[in-house]
Symmetry: C2
Subunit: 596 residues, 2 copies
């Protein structure tokens, strides 16, 4: 009777992100960070009521939310326009404007670890006086003192857990994404949590379950990360729980239930488990979404999960048993149901060397299909493309584009060895995995050879540039979102506390000069002959603006067809609704223009 | 332990407005219009869940929301940047982008009245071809026809009710705010709802409770409006219910309960009643707020109320019995509790001629008090200042200003005669009531003679200009928000369908030339010697921008201290969060500057 047109771009970008949340100990209040009103702010709900109210106005991205255990204030971390220089702010218990509490020069960083049970001592790390390795300090709110607790050495060193008596401290030290050691300090003593810190492995999420026992996650001598424990009295390390071929993540402890809760990473989706310490039973719970961003276990045992699925934007869920879930938030795509959107197929293909690659294939619905495919190499690279809502993807799909996103070597979720394959090999193996994926698309008649676009961000932007430079025949046009264009400049432009991990991750520009040349997109400038759109946040601290400036300048010098969009108040991502809409509208216009 | 500063301006302006709402017949969905995300859009909640989701993105003010009785679409009216040229839009049942449905030239108006039970015929009025008196039409969605039902004559004529069989129609015709007649048309017959349409009285909210019986509100031969009925068979008028010294407003009918629900206006606050038709019992219900903006009664008898109190911003409440209320929304002032804000005292004082005037006195809390008072003549003028949240007021109060808001003659809520006292006397009686109020403030030692500011909007802006011109000694500085400055230009610049009502309301510029001169602020230009801030929305259709332009230009010519702030995308009010913050920050700065 009334005919309505197809959904517009705008509808997909009216979803918001929920980046993190916290629940008060009495479970009467839940606070979450979201750009619900256009910019990132904190919102609260007084449970069981769920209507959200503005809790803290800051218009900036939030790195953590922590309730004072005594409910006198709330702590939160904010940076500025995406510069990732987070400072620690306090907000009155009734809400308000965040006040800088642990803060200093705008260029310094202040990372929160923990607050004491009486709410008087705040443990944090800072780049102040130690930008590469970080210092750990404790701020005493009662007497105003601020004391140095640990000087970071060798590599970035973070305080990761504080014992109940505040006399034992677990630090983790990162040499790479795949090499993070943990050690516990008590007085003058220091012990590695794992038997041999010289072995390459990771250690994270340490928890003191009593004064002498630390549980944590590690992949020490294993392909998949598992739960281990360290006994402070006996100095004994022992593996506790593993889940076959699934990497354990996000360990949480519930004292009342004497149980751990954890997530496992199983390829493109997550699973949720409960581990009963007394019975040693592992029970898989039913997760309300495919990808879990955050989990909190209340004292009562109630579970709170923030997550998303391919067709479900960020939402927060609550459950008393891990089986039945109540959706507390209602973040949805304006005017669309799950059924109007596309769930990906999980496919696998053989790469150049016979290795199996998993990929997500989002097929445009027949009624929308425009015949074109977007090839999407994910960022990270030590991350993966997963079954998680991206407004951009669902919008592309609605416009008729099929999307192919391979988890090339270096991706997480497929074991420790696989992740390490990208280290010191940014441009060869993963690139050939992408090429094999492209050929798979053609062989399986999913994509016409004349109808392929290339879009990627961060490492995916780097890969887009590199694939463009070396395999331009494949693509009609290319979109690079803050991708490094020159590994020589990139390796020196990352934040100071990233530099120590560059060696293992990327390599050394002098020792590995030949490889850096071979793997730098700028080397293949001559090959970049297809139309290109480059998008960059001016405040990006990870891939600085110069990485995009220089490739755009060089392409312009060569007279290539290149468009350049710079967002002045964004970093490595687009947090502000207006910017997000600007970016994706521009991308859609660019792709449409180059379909001809 | 952590000291937090006083609330900032920004905190007060992070509340939002909720202008109207609708509940679906099955009560499974509630849709409301709000600037929750910065601009006016429609939000929905799937009851009993209350977490709101964006239902329609339009970024414009909404005049009505109506569910298709068959749940295939939702209708809503939107204007453009506050121009009040509302058009009728359709939105898919699952939400989306509103599509113009009954619409035309941007300068035309389309006002919704009703939709048939099958959802196929939409009754509406339009300025098209009849800008002064309006035509009534019916759009048939099934066959696409659009038929003229009534040609407005004599004065603006609106369709106000349609019988169930769609064969009888009640129209109301306005000659003034205080003179609105109602008549019912069936075929070629036409009957006045009240015995004598030539008597000055008002008629509104007609409801067909069956094919032959129309209930409505009128003040025919009474100081206070009451419920009356008209029998179509016998053509009999009969009064039904009155509430002593309270004017009945917003009549709602519930068939299942055989009961009416209505609000009464009792001076500065509202009351809520239920009237049982069978027993003729009137029961006062407990209203959740002091001022009710909208009430809806579901088929089940559940009540939904949108309203506010002095310290409670717009919120929506639900009740099954009119006693216990559940607050569905949670609109609050960021970081403040009710106790942090100020409830007004209701005071009364004698005016120049002995007449009693009621006024709201908001006293700054001692810890905030800056010694200054803001005198606030309300807009309308046939309206009143009531116990309703104004972010502006609570922010002024928090900054230490006391606020005095008199309900001078012409205000509503004090009987029909009192309202009429402003008609054809805009500048004398009400002005002297204001002067008496100012003297009362001095006499009662509430305000120092040297510490009074004057702020008003719309008619209140006119009064601010006039008081400034004629009594400038009273004031330190003056803020005029879209106030008419010259009655000769104003009377000709109002929207066409307002012109027929200007005669009784304001008068005739030729016949009443002397009075127009006497009552025009511009006449007293020489007296306007205090610093002034003038604020105007460029799209304002009620008090056009020229009204502010001309007074600012003349003051500038005289070398007076005048600041001028124009909002390009606003009308008679400030609907966009950014504009609101800009306006009120500017006002606060202006007042602070002129405290010295």
């Amino acid at each position: 009777m009334i005919e309505f047109p197809k959904p517009t771009v705008d509808q997909f970008f009216r979803t918001y992100v929920i980046t993190n949340f916290a629940v008060s100990s009495d479970e009467e209040r839940l606070i979450f960070s979201s750009n619900l009103n256009g910019k990132m702010n904190l919102w609260a709900m007084n449970l069981p009521d769920t209507f959200p109210y503005l809790f803290a106005q800051k218009d900036e991205s939030c790195s953590f939310i922590k309730f004072d255990p005594q409910n006198r204030y709330v702590l939160a971390g904010f940076d500025q326009d995406g510069d990732e220089n987070h400072h620690i702010y306090a907000i009155p218990n009734e809400g308000g404007i965040p006040q800088a509490l642990i803060s200093g020069d705008a260029a310094e960083k202040y990372f929160f670890t923990d607050v004491s049970n009486d709410g008087e001592r705040i443990y944090y790390m800072t780049s102040e006086e130690n930008p590469s390795f970080l210092n750990t300090r404790v701020r005493n709110l009662a007497n105003g003192t601020d004391t140095l607790l640990n000087t970071g050495e060798v590599s970035p060193t973070e305080l990761a857990a504080v014992s109940n008596k505040e006399d034992a401290f677990v630090y983790i030290r990162a040499f790479a994404n795949t090499y993070v050691i943990g050690f516990v300090k008590t007085g003058d003593e220091q012990h590695s949590l794992t038997p041999d810190p010289d072995e390459v492995h990771i250690t994270f999420d340490p928890i003191f379950i009593d004064d002498n026992t630390i549980y944590f996650i590690t992949d020490y001598e294993s392909e998949y990360s598992y739960i281990a424990k360290f006994d402070l009295a006996s100095k004994q390390f022992s593996p506790v729980v593993n889940v076959n071929d699934e990497s354990i993540q996000s360990l949480k402890w519930n004292k009342e239930k004497n149980a751990f809760y954890f997530i496992t990473e199983d390829g493109v989706q997550d699973k949720l488990y409960q581990y009963d310490l007394a019975s040693q039973d592992i029970q898989e719970l039913s997760a309300p979404v495919d990808v879990i961003d955050q989990i909190q276990v209340a004292n009562s045992g109630n579970l709170y999960v923030l997550g998303r699925s391919a067709t479900i934007p960020h939402n927060i869920f609550q459950s008393s048993d891990g089986v039945e879930w109540k959706q507390l938030t209602n973040n949805r795509v304006l005017g669309l149901t799950k059924e109007d959107m596309v769930e990906p197929d999980v496919i696998s293909y053989q790469s150049f060397d016979g290795m199996e690659m998993e990929a997500l294939l989002f097929r445009a619905k027949p009624e929308n299909d425009n015949g074109y495919t977007i090839f999407w190499p994910h960022g990270g690279p030590q991350a993966s493309e997963r079954k998680m809502f991206r407004a951009m993807f669902q919008c592309f799909l609605n416009r008729g584009y099929t999307i192919f996103a391979p988890n090339f070597r270096g991706s997480t979720g497929y074991g420790s060895s696989f992740v390490k394959l990208v280290e010191q090999d940014w441009g060869e193996g993963p690139r050939l995995d992408c090429v094999a994926g492209i050929e798979w698309l053609f062989e399986n008649h999913i994509t016409d050879r004349e109808k392929l676009f290339l879009v990627g961000g961060s490492y995916g932007g780097y890969m887009a540039l590199l694939l463009h430079g070396r395999h331009s025949d494949y693509f009609k046009a290319v979109v690079d979102i803050f991708g490094p264009s020159d590994l020589f400049t990139f390796v020196n432009s990352v934040p100071p506390h990233w530099k120590p991990i560059m060696e293992r991750w990327l390599g050394d520009p002098e020792r590995d000069k030949e490889r850096f040349i071979k793997d730098s997109p700028v080397t293949y400038l001559d090959g970049m002959v297809k139309p290109m759109l480059v998008i960059q946040g001016a405040k990006d601290p990870r891939v600085v603006k110069e990485e995009s400036d220089q490739i755009v300048a060089k392409l312009n010098d060569e007279g290539r067809d290149v468009e350049y969009l710079v967002l002045e108040d964004e970093g490595h991502g687009f947090s502000k609704k207006e910017n997000e809409i600007k970016v994706y509208t521009r991308m859609l216009d660019f792709l449409e223009k180059h379909q001809a």
